[in-house]
């Protein structure tokens, strides 16, 4: 099982976990950095009203090869080089992201997770993740197509409703 790591620099925490899909290694990052959350609220009034005064983590992942190079100058969220993901790999990626998100949720209990899909392929995968969720995510409420460009997603956790 993948190990989670935490960095805490000046009170800003990140949680990292590594995972693999079809021989490609990835790093997933969760953060509740207040500056990041405030900037998310500037993406649209719909988003601001959902995130205001909520415990939110943003979720991102990148190819480990790019992430581990401190001076990497390329596009950090570029897809893996020379690797075309098919349906099987996309499903595996979805399963991994859901499993790790659940593990994170069970410890940190946020009210929302926030995703941004910068590519059409990622938008399709997040939409699939929202509408065809892992059974353990059945009590989570997905909100899709948020923000001016419709590329933002929120997954409201059961804690969101407990705190209404």
């Amino acid at each position: 099982m993948s190990q989670f790591f935490e960095s805490n620099l000046n009170g800003i925490r990140h949680h990292y976990v590594k995972f693999s899909v079809s021989h490609i290694n990835y790093v997933m990052d969760f953060t509740n950095d207040p500056d990041v959350i405030v900037s998310l609220m500037e993406l649209g009034d719909d988003i601001a009203s959902l995130l205001k005064q909520r415990k939110v983590y943003t979720v991102k992942f990148a190819v480990e090869e790019y992430f581990e190079q401190e001076n990497y100058g390329g596009d950090l969220y570029a897809p893996p080089k020379d690797h075309q993901f098919g349906k099987k790999e996309i499903n595996e990626l979805k399963n991994q992201l859901e499993t790790l998100l659940l593990r994170h949720y069970k410890v940190f209990h946020p009210e929302c997770y926030f995703f941004i899909a910068e590519r059409a392929s990622l938008r399709r995968m997040y939409t699939k993740m929202c509408h065809n969720r892992n059974i353990e995510l059945r009590d989570f409420i997905p909100l899709t197509g948020l923000g001016a460009d419709g590329d933002c997603f929120i997954l409201q956790t059961p804690h969101f409703r407990e705190n209404v």
Binding site: F5, N8, H14, L40, V107, E118
Partner: protein, 36 residues
């Protein structure tokens, strides 16, 4: 150059910040394993 949305631009910056925090924490011995 491909035009990216404001959200994608924000994500790019946030991902870069996450990477910098990771490397800095690693150097300072502040990257700690946690139970999750």
């Amino acid at each position: 150059m491909t035009k990216i949305s404001k959200a994608a631009e924000l994500k790019q910056k946030a991902l870069e910040a996450a990477k910098q925090a990771y490397h800095q924490a690693k150097k300072e011995g502040k990257l700690k394993p946690i139970s999750a």
